[in-house]
Amino acid sequence: MSVTAPSTRGGRWPLVRPWLGIAARLGLAAVWLVAGASKVSDLAASGRAVNAYQVMPYDVATVIGAALPFVELALGVLLLLGLATRLVAGVSAALLVVFIAGIASAWTRGLAIDCGCFGSGGQLAAGQAPSYLPEILRDLGFLVLAGFLLIWPRTPVSVDGWLSGEPVVEDEDE
């Protein structure tokens, strides 16, 4: 009931959690900012990278490819600010699940493509093998960050915290 008392759970968790939280938030922010920035300068290539998955018509792929880098940058900025962290973490998790599904499906269909996660998408140089497993494992790592923020969205130095005017506590934010 009381919001000032730290967690009833013992141990270091209540002390460590805010720091883990801010690390997850800034880490995921960096992921989105880098991913978006690497694609934003060549939107045509971004569309090609989406099209290389061969899951949607070319014209749809180009629109997704053009919109995606900007959405990624926006997610990064929102996480950096710590605004609507739970929602942004949810959207991040959903996007990552889509990416993982896309890579897995490219893998099972035997396509030889680069995931296009951080720019340089679609094409592979001759003789270059696709690296689907590392790409999926990396995205799973990012998914863990998003999952952490989904469960514990309140982190220090965030606009969310500033808006609520409350210290970081283990409250039941909806």
Binding site: S41, L43, V63, A84, Q123, A125
Partner: protein, 238 residues
């Protein structure tokens, strides 16, 4: 006593309910704002992309009917070559198999269509892929596409660099016998930049995901060595 405590409790419950309501509303507003930001970001991307694309394009003389590539020869089998002047593997392909293609054209066995796509703009700081492809359109206008392409590959700049300057692109043109005045003007004016975009767009649409890609009568040749090309053209010509 107990009634006052009851009042205090009731007041606290009301306060807590109000606070909870405030929190709920704030969460809703903040979430709505974040959703709006994300949607706007997506729309901005789409608008930027639409503005970058040109509606029409200028096709150089010597191109095929669709304006997607430069035609050499007139043999019965069509060989499509998708290449980017910044791509090291394309340079390698040109150096190992380029003469084979020339020979197939000379023997009137194949028609070779070169598609100079701009896939690797991210790997130069000056959009070298687009500029060199547009310049190759200028060379095609004077009937010297392949001579110019070979010279470009011979002097290929490394990936990640600034690429060659427009002046260097013009110098390479004059070295293969192009006129400095008309060719140079064409390169400087980026006359065929919209054509490069069209070529690139068409290649992407036909699921050409990498360069070089070589197709013989529409069938991709996975490893286009001289032998494989000769065999594929022979098989397709039967």
């Amino acid at each position: 006593m107990s009634s006052r405590k009851g009042q205090r409790d009731a007041a606290r419950v009301v306060r807590e309910q109000l606070a909870r309501e405030r929190r709920r509303r704030r969460t809703i507003w903040v979430s709505a704002a974040a959703v709006v930001v994300l949607v706007i970001a997506g729309v901005v991307g789409w608008v930027v992309w639409s503005n970058q694309r040109s509606d029409s394009f200028t096709t150089p003389p010597g191109a095929n009917a669709d304006g997607t590539g430069i035609v050499t020869g007139g043999g019965p089998v069509t060989v499509d070559v998708y290449e980017d002047f910044l791509c090291p593997a394309c340079k390698q392909f040109e150096q190992t198999s380029g003469s084979t293609l020339e020979q197939l054209v000379a023997e009137n066995k194949a028609t070779v269509v070169y598609h100079p796509v701009a896939y690797l703009n991210r790997f130069s700081t000056t959009q070298y892929s687009t500029r060199s492809s547009a310049a190759s359109g200028c060379a095609a206008a004077d009937g010297k596409y392949h001579e110019y392409a070979k010279a470009l590959f011979a002097q290929q700049p490394p990936e990640g660099s600034a690429g060659l300057t427009d002046d260097q692109l013009i110098d390479i043109g004059t070295s293969v016998g192009l006129d400095r005045g008309s060719f140079g003007g064409c390169v400087k004016d980026e006359t065929y930049r919209t054509w490069t975009e069209h070529v690139t767009d068409d290649a992407s649409r036909s699921n050409v995901t990498g360069t070089p890609t070589v197709k013989v009568n529409g069938q991709q040749v996975e490893n286009p060595t001289p032998d494989a090309l000769t065999a594929a053209v022979a098989a397709a010509g039967k």
